[in-house]
């Protein structure tokens, strides 16, 4: 029976590969494949192939020689945390993710439970092998061993974790069936983990010297030394021992050492396998549900709608009351704000509170110590966030046409001119980005140093620059958002709108072309406003009114940006009106 399943898997892979190769006959995929291939070559292979001599060898992890063991210990600690989370986080019954077709064909077929698990495990080996290869290519500098050793090291760790995840999910389902609720189980595991952590902390307080109150002259060496002491003595080495075994093959320095390290891992894999196949837990019902969810998520992701991959769990309160009279594009803005609200969850707020508390504590400590460099640091951080919001924000916030184009038939029926549809669609992410940026500008205005290299920066100057930035950034956001929306309308096939949208490294190449194209168009769109701003600023500075120059320059640039945005909306509106779904999506 397993032979039939392997036959199915083998031919699925072959047919998928053939379909991808055939697709290369279309120029858009061929160009994408060439760009994607070149990208992969330059990123991963160039350094390890012929031109190796031209480049310096990758550096091993920068730790002092006496602490060479630290990476291994940290990796073991990370592995331990992941295993612990596997026992704490799950909240639903054990389920094996099959495709919907596999569920339809295999579950009613005379296939034993063990065969299904074996098939699933073999299938997961493909993903593990691919992940191992990818991480080996990406992490060329992570440890100095031979690439083959590192690849099989990844494989060993992933295989153990995959089996452990399955085994723990079966065990947790059994506990659930015996009446142990999720919260009780979490309390037990978290309590256990907390008790162990407390014991280690107490040991540290009694056995180790106190934590240094201030850094010494050697930078962060004191921290590394201290952590080294914690990990090399007391209870932690014993606690981490089984996890060190699993990650030991990755850190092997030679093939003999690797084989020695691999033997215990193989034993762990075999033990885990028997644990999994002997666990008498019904997974079929939960698997059917999981398969359905996975299929929906895949359809959403393939259609370019990553956010819809997370199905909304509960209704979101509208951001404002929408009444019937008024411009209809506001309805699209309202709808997309509700859509974005799905992702502003309690967890996000909790994270923001954590960041705020941490930043506040840091600020308080530094102010007590009289640290002067903090303002510059915070300002630099805010500048970085602003730049990120400008360049990455439009790619991350996709509650616009990129989200709604798979439902373009609904949009096409709406009695609205095309430009209004585009405006309503892009306004929600533009408004969200502007809100974040205004907040950052406010922080920047507060933290901007009053003195910079012995020059006094008056409040009026700080406020003027902040005002100019607050005026310009939302317009730049609007243009930056119009560009990917235009790309989605002009090249829908590259935006993966269809249900059976393609994947592969040729689509990665297409994405690269799109990303660079978008960046180039944004730069071109900003050239003229930037030039006008500079000219106005320089003229008025020459006359002795630099602040007025900033303000009037920003106003002139804003008029130009608004004109560009309006022209862009008109252009895209026309494209949307002429957009032929039958040619693109159906």
């Amino acid at each position: 029976m397993l032979g039939a399943l392997l036959f199915y898997q083998y031919h699925s892979w072959c047919n998928r590969l053939l379909a991808r190769l055939r697709r290369l006959r279309q120029p858009k995929y061929l160009v994408g494949a060439i760009v994607g291939g070149l990208y992969l070559y330059f990123c991963f292979f160039r350094g390890s192939a012929g031109s190796r001599a031209a480049r310096p060898p990758p550096l091993p992890l920068a730790v002092p020689p006496d602490l060479n063991d630290l990476p291994q210990t940290l990796a073991a600690l990370g592995f331990m945390v992941m295993v612990l989370l596997a026992w704490i986080l799950p909240h639903s019954r054990a389920a094996l993710a099959f495709s919907e077709a596999e569920v339809a064909f295999l579950f009613p077929a005379p296939v034993t439970r063990r065969t299904l698990i074996n098939f699933k495990l073999l299938k997961s080996q493909a993903a593990i092998a691919f992940s191992s290869l990818l991480l080996t290519l990406i992490g060329r500098g992570w440890g100095g061993g031979h690439p083959l050793i590192r690849m099989f090291g990844w494989w060993a760790a992933f295989s153990v974790f995959n089996l452990h995840l399955l085994g723990s999910s079966f065990a947790l389902t059994m506990l659930m069936d015996r009446g142990l609720s999720n919260w009780k189980r979490r309390a037990i595991f978290l309590g256990g983990a907390a008790a162990v952590a407390a014991a280690i902390f107490l040991w540290m307080r009694h056995s180790l010297p106190p934590f240094p109150s201030a850094p010494d002259q050697d930078g962060f060496k004191w921290i590394v030394d201290y952590i080294g002491q914690v990990f090399q003595s007391g209870p932690l080495p014993w606690l981490l021992a089984p996890f060190r075994l699993v990650i030991a093959p990755y850190f092997a320095s030679g093939f003999v050492e690797f084989l020695k390290a691999l033997a215990p891992v193989l034993a762990i894999i075999v033990l885990h396998y028997f644990w999994v196949v002997r666990s008498n837990v019904a997974f079929e019902e939960a698997s059917v549900e999981l398969s359905r969810k996975v299929a929906e998520r895949m359809a959403a992701v393939r259609s370019g709608n990553w956010q819809a991959a997370r199905q909304p769990k509960k209704a979101v309160r509208p951001p404002f009351t929408l009444r019937p009279p008024g411009p209809p594009w506001v309805a699209l803005f309202w709808k997309n704000l509700i859509s974005a609200g799905q992702y502003v969850t309690a967890r996000v707020w909790l994270m923001l509170v954590w960041v705020a508390v941490f930043a506040g504590l840091l600020l308080q400590t530094q102010l007590r110590r009289g640290g002067g460099g903090l303002e510059v640091g915070v300002l630099f951080f805010i500048g970085m966030l602003l730049a990120m919001s400008l360049f990455s924000g439009p790619q991350m916030l996709r509650n616009d046409l990129r989200q709604d184009l798979p439902a373009a038939d609904v949009l096409k029926m709406l009695p609205m001119p095309g430009w209004q549809v585009v405006l309503g669609e892009v306004l929600a992410p533009a408004a969200m980005l502007a809100a974040v940026q205004w907040l950052l500008i406010l922080f920047a205005a507060i933290f901007f140093p009053r003195h910079f290299e012995k020059h006094l920066i008056p409040l009026a100057a700080r406020l003027t620059v902040a005002l100019a930035a607050a005026l310009l950034l939302p317009l730049i956001d609007l243009i930056a958002l119009l560009i990917p929306n235009a790309a989605a309308l002009y090249f829908p096939a590259w935006y993966h709108l269809g249900k059976d949208a393609p994947r592969g490294f040729e689509t990665m190449g297409q994405q690269l072309i799109l990303t660079f194209g978008q960046l180039l168009i944004l730069i071109l769109a900003l050239l003229l406003p930037a030039g006008v701003f500079t000219a106005v600023f320089l003229c008025l500075s020459f006359l002795g009114w630099p602040l007025l120059g900033v303000l009037l320059g920003a106003l002139a640039a804003a008029v130009l940006l608004a004109t560009e945005a309006a022209l862009g909306l008109r252009l895209l509106g026309g494209v949307f009106t002429r957009f032929d779904l039958s040619a693109e999506l159906l």
Binding site: A315, P324, P325, P328, K335, S339, P415
Partner: protein
């Protein structure tokens, strides 16, 4: 409840609401619909029938403004769909076989959204009545994911009817509905027709069309084979070889035999 199809009176003909002239749609070089012309007047319910691939859905999508025709003209309530799309779209509603809803809007939020798009004043009362009529009034705060397929279909219908369209297109309207839903749907179609709406229904359920349609249009390979009132079409084909119902007419008109089907 009486669900007899609306009768065509002998008095002055009602105004045409849907006018199609020479509609042609090509997918690349492949003709999906070729030179299709017909008129649907106020109060008429026309059944669009044909074998798979006949071009029914393409026709409906062209008429609803979802896809542009390659050639030909479509007028909705006197407005040219290509030149005055906003005015034309304001007056029509299209119901696809698969309900098209926004995952993150609740039932009530869907109605609010549509009310703003179409500028429906006092939509709360109309919306409440529609939800009650369709028996989903208790689901106002639910997301589509929490609704069954039939309920999603009902929500799509409520959204489409909120602005009281004068022209309605149905593509397989009974898919996913339970028997009570089917009966209510038939009643609803006839109620809108009596109120003066022009309705075009595409369906393979010929007995449904026989119950609700006043007219029928048969398509095959993208071309019109015949259109006219049910009586006219029946008469024409019964003259040729005798026989009665729409199913027999369909098989004779399309040149298929029941055995082949």
């Amino acid at each position: 409840m009486d669900i007899a199809p609306p009768r065509i009176t002998e008095t002055a003909a009602p105004p045409p609401q849907i006018e199609v002239a020479g509609l042609t749609k090509l997918y690349g070089d492949l003709p999906a619909v070729t030179d299709l012309s017909f008129v649907v007047r106020s109060g008429e319910v026309i059944g669009l029938v044909g074998p798979n691939g006949a071009g029914k859905t393409t026709t409906l999508r062209c008429l609803a403004g979802i896809i542009p025709p390659t050639r030909g003209a479509v007028r909705i309530c006197g407005f040219d769909l290509a030149r005055q799309p906003i005015e034309a779209k304001r007056r029509l509603a299209f119901f696809s076989d698969e309900p098209r809803l926004f995952d993150y809007l609740t039932v009530a939020q869907h109605l609010t959204f549509i009310a703003r798009i179409y500028g429906v004043a006092g939509y709360q009362e109309t919306g409440r009545q529609l939800l009650e009529e369709l028996e989903i009034a208790g689901k106002a705060d639910k997301l589509p994911i929490e609704l069954s397929r039939g309920m999603k279909q009902k929500l799509a219908i409520a959204c489409g009817l909120l602005h009281a369209p004068q022209v309605i297109f149905f593509d397989e309207p009974l898919t996913g509905l339970d028997p009570i839903g089917i009966r209510r749907m038939k009643d609803s179609i006839l109620k809108r027709a009596r109120a003066g709406a022009a309705i075009l229904i595409s369906s393979h359920l010929l007995h449904l069309l026989e119950e609700v349609c006043s007219h029928v249009l048969i398509l095959k390979d993208g071309r019109k084979i015949i259109d006219g009132s049910l009586e006219e079409v029946r008469q024409r084909f019964s003259e040729q070889s005798g026989g009665g119902n729409l199913e027999d007419v369909f098989f004779r008109a399309t040149g298929e035999t029941k055995g082949e089907a």
